[in-house]
Symmetry: C2
Subunit: 249 residues, 2 copies
């Protein structure tokens, strides 16, 4: 059963869907009829089963009867921000889609020294709107209760505004054999929020790592293999899900 986000809080058992894009998808793409059931998620992160009552012939609204679902939330019990160095269009779109599936709450793209590109100020709004749309669609498909926020910061320094309880930067870590990693040590403390920064394909510049370390971002390794820039955040999010959603007793 497909899910749609609505912008209005649902607080009665009658509701009208008014977002033109959602109406189009429900009525034209999926060709739903009266009596069909869809899921709606409202800004309070509640999930509702919505039975279609009527579809306005002029496509101005869809009237539904709603019932609040008691299903557990699909949101991670930790507030996760991933911050990725800017990359090519298809890579950042891919990072946005996959990070949404994997439970990120906030996805930041930043300009770093060895980024292969940057965004000119006049395109930022349009680029972010496109990524936010990708995040929304992925959030609906993966049955999230929120749409992750996509943010752009043009200076690495501005990342400190988004500091969390645990602040990390993915970087080679010289772990001794058999030693527990700094990532595992950090997660064992079960922080309630975390941000992790990921460098570009060419890596962070040493002064960028110095800056982040001095701003209390701890360098953590993600295993012995070299991952591409877009793979590392997926690894990180998967590990968080495992630690917080599959192993906690």
């Amino acid at each position: 059963m497909e899910q749609y986000f609505v912008k209005e809080t649902i607080n009665s058992n009658k509701f009208q869907i008014v977002d033109p894009e959602t109406i189009k998808h429900v009525a034209k793409v999926m060709r739903h009829k009266s009596g069909d059931v869809i899921s709606l998620v409202d800004p309070t992160e509640n999930l509702f089963m919505a039975t279609i009552d009527s579809i306005d012939p002029d496509s101005k609204f869809i009237a539904v009867d709603v019932e609040k679902s008691t299903k557990n939330s699909t949101e991670m019990p930790i507030d996760v921000t991933i911050a990725c160095s800017l990359s090519k269009k298809d890579k950042i779109e891919w990072i946005t889609q996959k990070s949404t599936e994997l439970g990120a709450k906030r996805i930041i793209f930043f300009d770093s020294r060895y980024s292969i590109m940057n965004w000119k100020p006049n395109v930022v709004e349009k680029k972010l709107a496109r990524l936010q749309e990708i995040a929304k669609n992925a959030a609906q498909q993966s049955k999230r209760r929120i749409i992750p926020e996509v943010i752009y910061v043009d200076k690495l320094k501005d990342l400190v505004q988004y500091k969390a309880e645990a602040n990390l930067v993915a970087y080679e870590e010289s772990a001794k054999q058999g030693e527990i990693s700094r990532l595992a040590q950090t997660l064992n403390e079960m922080p309630k929020s975390v941000i992790c920064a990921f460098g570009p394909e060419g890596g962070f510049a040493p002064e960028e790592i110095d800056f982040l370390n001095q701003a209390d971002f701890l360098s953590v390794g993600l295993g012995p293999r070299i991952m591409r820039a877009e793979t590392a955040p997926m690894y990180f999010l998967s590990v968080l899900s495992y630690k917080y959603e599959l192993t906690v007793k």
Copy 2:
């Protein structure tokens, strides 16, 4: 420093690279000269620092002086096979690349009931050769010590040939809140080998799950969000790396 796999076992401090593709990459693409250092990995999974001595003007060989490296292996201490339902070309190429970066030893594609496509017998060899090439390149880039093997099986039933110590199938699991997941339970036993099967976008058919369960593939959930077919194997491999490479004391 870039890494290349060689087919011959290196057992002296002199070696000749004879693979035409590697020669082309070293001499023409990277434009290496005498004195430059590259990494070589041989079939015994040993890593060598190789200093270029001479490049044959006819590109028949590159003579190198080699020194065995004492660096730790980058291979996971568990033998991991992922088995994915066949999908579109770009998705299976992507799965092959990312699974290699994330440490899989064996990547199987299989035809399942709701797969959106299958391979005709006459294209299997060509398709596998292409995927094997992607795996080789990704293995070199991520500094693996082996190239994962890419395999095609046209019947789900044939997956049982690849059974390991732990046999899993990714499937919705109705975990009670606060319960430790079956995946975590399985990994806590620290098996030495594991295979996990992943269904297509439309999921496994109930009789396919029944078959796998009866063949002792345990159904395991991968958290509360719905992941796309290509995302789930990445989640699984990341979790294995975390469990076996970052948290073992």
